[in-house]
């Protein structure tokens, strides 16, 4: 049976990847007037990368083959 932690890994990795991609896009072409406070911190870049990393670790550690 596939571990529940594998599903968690998929969810975190996919969400993290999408958030990171959106953050990198904004980093490369920033909006003229940022719509959010603390835009300069680029939270979606590092938070997305963190979720992606945790998700990949879970996916690898709890992969069905293992």
């Amino acid at each position: 049976m596939i571990s529940i932690w594998f599903f968690i890994g998929i969810a975190l990795a996919v969400n993290g990847g999408l958030i990171l991609a959106a953050g990198v896009f904004q980093l490369l072409s920033p909006p003229i007037t940022p719509a959010v406070a603390l835009f300069k911190l680029h939270a979606n870049v590092w938070w997305g990368a963190l979720l992606l990393a945790i998700g990949l670790i879970y996916c690898f550690r709890f992969a069905p083959k293992r």
């Binding site: 968690i8 969400n15 958030i19 959106a22």
Partner: protein, 567 residues
């Protein structure tokens, strides 16, 4: 346990980008995939209703916590933190931690050893069929009604926050929940609750991180709150000496005895919605560790619920107002503070994750209600009262159909509330009537062998009637609150605390008196059900860090330290 009332603020708060929509759609695809994958693992009654009793302590514990971590709780208590300050944390600490530890160390062995399918099932074994019927029927009825009320409230939230159509929100979420619970049973509900737990943390933890950065740290945040609201807002206990000294209008007696000793004990130890998750644990040690793990994480939840409310007080440029004023003025209400903080900090992608966390919290809450209703209906109402001779397969099929019917009743209730908004208040009040006396009945049943069948039934009935009477009294004559809460300065939340306290004491008093006047059950029938007549598996051969009591002590010490820090 949600304080979120109906909302009616025009125009939505946030606008989703394409990547946000993809994240929301991905969540729906994932939960349906999990339900589809688990459909082949729900053949027997044990599989469908108790997830095969094979969950680890971590899975059962996180699911146990997630069942109470719905979107309405998050938004409602964040709003309460904005309104009342750090006092709202009591509902997460003293209003949960002692009860969770009590469940783990004292009550769980009895639930687990007697192999009951449900809390009403325990009452049947301990007090007989009348007590079970009273408890099961009231629980089943209230659960689906509450599910409908929450469904409507959440659809309203999604309309306000995102501009989604109410009918769309109700039907999409209902059909999704009906499919994944109907296919995979409790196992599917538990998997999605654990998924929701991670999504909520992933989606909400960034708010306090960025908020504290903007506010200049915790100490500067306290100064800002003192300037913009009052210094009372950052003290957990110091202002509870009297009713008039704090924004909640409550005193320490109500918090400690009403909330900590009765309401939270009743909710966390006898509400089958949460206890069912623990009953799915693979062995008794896991069943004891699960609430302790849940308690450990519960202590952290104020970081993503209370702190955003406090940060809203400090950094939001606008002043939020009570719901009644928001409806008239068009301003944002207290309950909007969490989405407002999301909109403040979350750019594309993060906003989608935040919204997904809210939707996930809502749907897993509904799934929790529906799976608990399905079990109680099938095992505690249908089987004993209508069809005692069905096969296991027959009861599983009944469970699947009941899942669909339960969802449809919830949808019907949601539309009823849409037409008659006052129903919402009545249903939320009705649910609270049963919790406190049920705790009295169950705990006496477990700890006092002299409690008789008649004592259990009449105690439960009288405690419930006491609760209903006090609620009706205050409803008819609001000034009666001074008598219920023993103070002319008491406010609404104090009523809940003292009402629970009196109904619990009534239940205990009646149970004791009737039990002493009637014939006790033979001791042979109480084996596995009562303290002193139940052999608890020994843990002497386990190392210290493997023993539940060790981890309960660790959680208990952290709990005390946290209360002292924020005194």
């Amino acid at each position: 346990m949600s304080p979120l009332p109906a909302m009616a603020v025009p125009s939505h708060l946030v606008r989703l980008s394409a990547v946000d929509v993809v994240i929301v759609i991905f969540y729906f695809a994932l939960v349906l995939s999990i339900g589809w994958y688990l459909r082949g693992r729900a053949h027997t009654g044990e599989d469908f209703f108790l997830a095969g009793r094979e969950m680890s302590a971590w899975v059962a514990g996180l699911s146990f916590l997630s069942a109470n971590l719905g979107a309405l709780e998050l938004m409602g208590w964040a709003g309460s933190a904005y309104q009342y300050g750090i006092l709202a944390t009591h509902w997460y600490w003293i209003g949960a931690i002692p009860a969770m530890l009590f469940l783990a160390l004292v009550m769980m062995p009895f639930y687990y050893i007697c192999q009951t399918h449900s809390v009403p099932g325990y009452l049947k074994l301990r007090f007989g069929e009348p007590a079970r019927a009273l408890s099961a029927i009231s629980f089943a009825f209230m659960t689906v009604l509450m599910s409908g009320v929450n469904m409507f409230a959440m659809a309203k939230v999604l309309q306000i926050v995102l501009g989604w159509d109410i009918n769309f929100s109700i039907w999409v979420s209902s059909v999704t929940v009906a499919i994944y619970v109907g296919l995979g049973g409790l196992r599917s509900a538990i998997f999605n609750e654990v998924l929701q737990f991670f999504l909520i943390w992933a989606g909400a933890l960034l708010i306090p991180i960025l908020g504290l950065y903007e506010a200049g740290g915790w100490w500067h945040l306290k100064l800002l709150i003192a300037q913009r609201a009052s210094e009372q807002y950052v003290h957990l206990w110091a202002t509870l000496g009297s009713f008039s000294n704090n924004p909640m209008g409550i005193n320490w007696v109500g918090i400690v005895f009403g909330l900590g000793a009765v309401i939270s004990m009743g909710y966390w130890t006898t509400d089958f919605l949460v206890v069912q998750r623990i009953l799915s644990a693979k062995d008794i040690r896991s069943a004891q560790m699960a609430p302790i793990i849940g308690a450990g994480f519960k202590m952290l939840v104020p970081m993503i619920v209370i702190l955003p409310g406090l940060l809203g007080l400090a950094v939001l440029p606008e002043k939020l107002v009570p719901e009644s004023m928001a409806t008239v003025s068009g301003a944002h209400s207290y309950n909007d503070v969490l989405p407002l903080m999301m909109a403040r900090y979350f750019g594309p992608g993060l906003l989608g994750l935040g919204v997904t966390a809210l939707v996930a919290g809502f749907m897993s809450g509904m799934a929790g209600n529906v799976s608990a209703f399905t079990t109680v209906w099938t095992y505690d109402i249908y089987r004993p009262l209508m069809n005692q001779r069905g096969s296991d397969r027959h009861y599983v099929n009944m469970g699947r159909w009941t899942t669909v019917i339960g969802v449809l009743i919830s949808v019907g209730t949601a539309y009823l509330v849409m037409q008659f908004a006052s129903i919402m208040d009545y249903v939320q009040a009705l649910f609270s009537f049963f919790i406190a006396p049920l705790f009295g009945t169950v705990v006496l049943g477990m700890l006092w062998r002299r409690a008789s069948a008649a004592g259990g039934f009449w105690g439960l009935l009288c405690g419930t009637l006491c609760s209903i009477s006090m609620w009706t009294w205050v409803k008819v004559d609001p000034s009666a609150l001074r008598y219920v809460a023993l103070s002319p300065h008491a406010k609404g939340l104090a009523q809940d605390m003292y009402q629970a306290l009196w109904s619990f004491l009534t239940c205990v008093g009646v149970t004791v008196v009737v039990s002493l006047a009637t014939k006790p059950l033979p001791e042979v029938e109480l084996n596995g059900l009562v303290y002193g007549l139940t052999e608890i598996p020994a843990v002497a051969d386990l190392s210290l860090y493997q023993k539940p009591v060790f981890w309960a002590a660790v959680v208990g010490i952290v709990f005390v330290v946290l209360n002292l820090i924020f005194w």
